[in-house]
């Protein structure tokens, strides 16, 4: 675990110039998409293109300058990927707004709200990088952040501020703003899991009995983390939030597996997942419906609740074909949640498989960078945290894109950086800030300390301090 950076035999360069180049390209993608939306839908370049482009550029430049100042060795690819996805998402939301406005829908300011949320996200990104100079200081907050995460998950149950929307009780309303505290909770729980596992990984992996090919750890090692996990799962199930429960379960399993290097956890996790899915299928009507819609989408097209939304999304993507219908030439308003869960179907319809592949590749690269940060990180806490954050993004993208394309049963989760959703966007910007902070530490050359000659024998014996 120690000194991996020097063992690999090279030092990383800063690559801030490469980052700037990629950011310019990302801005061209974002602003170009915005202009293309105006041209496609209204036939003219949008009037506020300069103002919009200037705002987006200012946000990206602010993020870039911050990275230059306080995280000069950070990964050069992560920020441009995120900027491009966010810019593209804003343009697609703008395209939906124009259609919603023309059709007389109530809500048609998604893009503007999303831009406000992105501004807040970038402010938090900058603040995180400035205030958190060493991610290892988060390790001290292991239990605090675990507790805070659980408190945030409980918030929607409180009488005044809590609220249910679309059947899931995951929202709070404070002073006119709605917020999904679960999005922040997942980051806090990653910190808590990483901080706990890095101290107890050896005990979890080595101490304990072997039962049926699986090394079971001792109760006192597994207890706290199992409690943290169990409580959050119970809360999510009570909230009727399938997507998030799946996300937390997967996150927990990945981190436990990475920390202990025991494949047995995957077996245990797989069995638990199968059992849980069967139980949910049997006892929760909603889950049964989701399975039926997934297996036979076209039979429930007209039913209510039915698979109309999924089928419309599939029609849209099929009609889009290889290079799409062109921005403004599709019918994304036929999919009710085109602005959130189903944003990928809009992209598939109007920009085609070519764009969808590019987007999936972008997510793949984000996850690859995060896992690489975990590989080269010099401390165990940073490794586990980077793996956890990578797992969050990977699982979320898989569950959402798999659901929208009909690969797996549909569960509600936001597509990171693309979908409309303030809490998710803000939380994901913080995730990126944390990843950049870890990668700055990991890629920074190890301090040059002179080797010590061991000619002098350790003649006098040293007494051993009793540790615990």
């Amino acid at each position: 675990m120690s000194q991996t950076g020097t063992l690999m035999g090279f030092v990383h360069r800063r690559r801030r110039g490469a980052e700037l180049f990629l950011l310019v390209l990302a801005l061209v993608v974002g602003i170009g998409a915005y202009a293309a939306v105006g041209l496609g839908v209204e036939g003219v370049v949008p009037a506020d293109l300069v103002g919009y482009g200037g705002w987006l550029t200012a946000l990206i430049v602010a993020a870039h300058v911050t990275v230059r100042l306080v995280a000069p060795y950070a990964d050069p690819v992560l920020l441009p990927l995120v900027a491009a996805l966010n810019g593209l998402g804003l343009a697609i939301l703008r395209r939906l707004d124009l259609t919603y406005e023309a059709n007389g829908f109530d809500q048609h300011t998604f893009a503007r709200q999303q831009l406000t949320w992105m501004t807040l996200g970038v402010i938090l990104f900058v603040a995180t990088l400035f205030l958190l100079r060493d991610h290892r200081s988060l390790q001290r907050l292991t239990y605090t952040s675990g507790l805070a995460g659980i408190v945030l998950l409980v918030l929607p149950f409180l009488p005044v501020i809590g609220s249910a929307k679309n059947g899931a009780k995951i929202w709070i309303y404070v002073a006119g703003f709605s917020f999904q505290p679960g999005e922040v909770a997942k980051v806090l729980l990653v910190i808590a899991f990483a901080g706990y596992l890095v101290l107890h990984r050896d005990a979890l992996a080595l101490a304990g009995r072997r039962v049926l090919f699986v090394d079971l750890p001792r109760g006192r090692d597994l207890g706290p983390i199992l409690a943290m996990f169990g409580i959050s799962m119970m809360i999510l199930v009570a909230q009727n939030d399938l997507g998030s429960s799946l996300l937390f379960f997967g996150l927990f399993l990945v981190m436990l597996y990475v920390a202990t290097e025991r494949a047995g956890w995957l077996v245990v996790g797989g069995l638990l997942f199968t059992g849980g899915a069967l139980a949910a299928y049997t006892f929760v009507g909603n889950v049964q419906n989701r399975f039926n819609f997934w297996l036979h989408p076209f039979e429930y097209y007209e039913a209510s609740p039915g698979s109309g939304q999924l089928v419309e999304a599939l029609f849209g993507m099929g009609w889009g074909g290889l290079i799409g219908r062109g921005l403004g030439n599709g019918f994304p308003e036929r999919v009710p949640f085109a602005y959130s869960d189903f944003i990928l179907s809009t992209i598939g319809e109007e920009l085609g498989l070519t764009a969808v592949m590019a987007i999936v590749l972008c997510y793949g690269l984000i996850v690859e960078r995060a896992l690489r940060i975990a590989l080269i990180s010099r401390d165990g806490f940073g490794k586990l945290m980077a793996v956890g954050l990578a797992a969050i993004i990977a699982l979320q993208v898989f569950v959402v894109i798999g659901g929208v394309t009909g690969l797996i049963p549909l569960t509600g989760l936001t597509t990171p950086f693309l979908s409309y959703g303030g809490s998710s966007l803000v939380a994901n910007w913080v995730v990126v800030a944390l990843l950049l902070r870890i990668s700055d530490q990991a890629r920074r050359p190890a301090p040059r300390l002179d080797p010590v000659d061991d000619s002098v024998a350790d003649s006098e014996s040293t007494q051993v301090v009793k540790l615990r």
């Binding site: 180049f21 390209l25 998409a33 390790q139 290079i323 010590v452 040293t462």
Partner: protein, 159 residues
């Protein structure tokens, strides 16, 4: 707006999208292979001049630490000037700060500078070196007044 123009806009946008993705991949590629190999990893001893440069007494900046002080333990009050860095801490006779602490190894830890920052490094001691409450596994930055614990002794950087 003619059909053809819209088609060209669409194709141009998709091209930009893919140019972005491919550039990102090419940056990742160059990041993997384009890094410089440091002198120490190439084999052979590093040039002695650079080593001298590291230990050379620098002009102390205002607010920069000047000495390492034992603040707690048997040898409380013992100090060593940082100008003589790198400083060895231990029970051995060659240590810059020689401690009479049974829980300290002969060659326990080392304090050295890299750039403007001071680092403490554990030299494989029996009982470990702690910065604050954390046992360190890699060279760790220490600032003014940060407590470094070896055995039953606590040291600090002072102005």
């Amino acid at each position: 707006m003619s059909e053809l123009t819209l088609f060209l806009i669409r194709v141009a946008f998709l091209a930009i999208l893919w140019i972005f993705v491919l550039s990102a991949i090419s940056v990742i590629r160059s990041d993997m292979f384009g890094a410089r190999v440091p002198e120490t990893a190439r084999g052979g001893a590093p040039a002695p001049t650079s080593r001298k440069g590291n230990g050379k007494p620098r002009k102390p900046r205002r607010g920069a630490p000047t000495h390492l002080l034992v603040v707690e333990g048997e040898n409380s009050g013992v100090r060593a000037e940082l100008a003589d860095a790198p400083l060895l801490i231990g029970r051995g006779s060659d240590a810059a700060i020689k401690l009479d602490d049974d829980y300290v190894s002969t060659r326990h830890a080392r304090v050295a500078a890299s750039g403007d920052e001071w680092f403490v490094e554990d030299l494989g001691s029996t009982n470990g070196t702690y910065v604050g409450p954390v046992r360190i596994t890699q060279p760790t930055t220490i600032g003014l007044g940060v407590q470094v614990r070896v055995g039953k002794t606590i040291l600090e950087l002072r102005k």
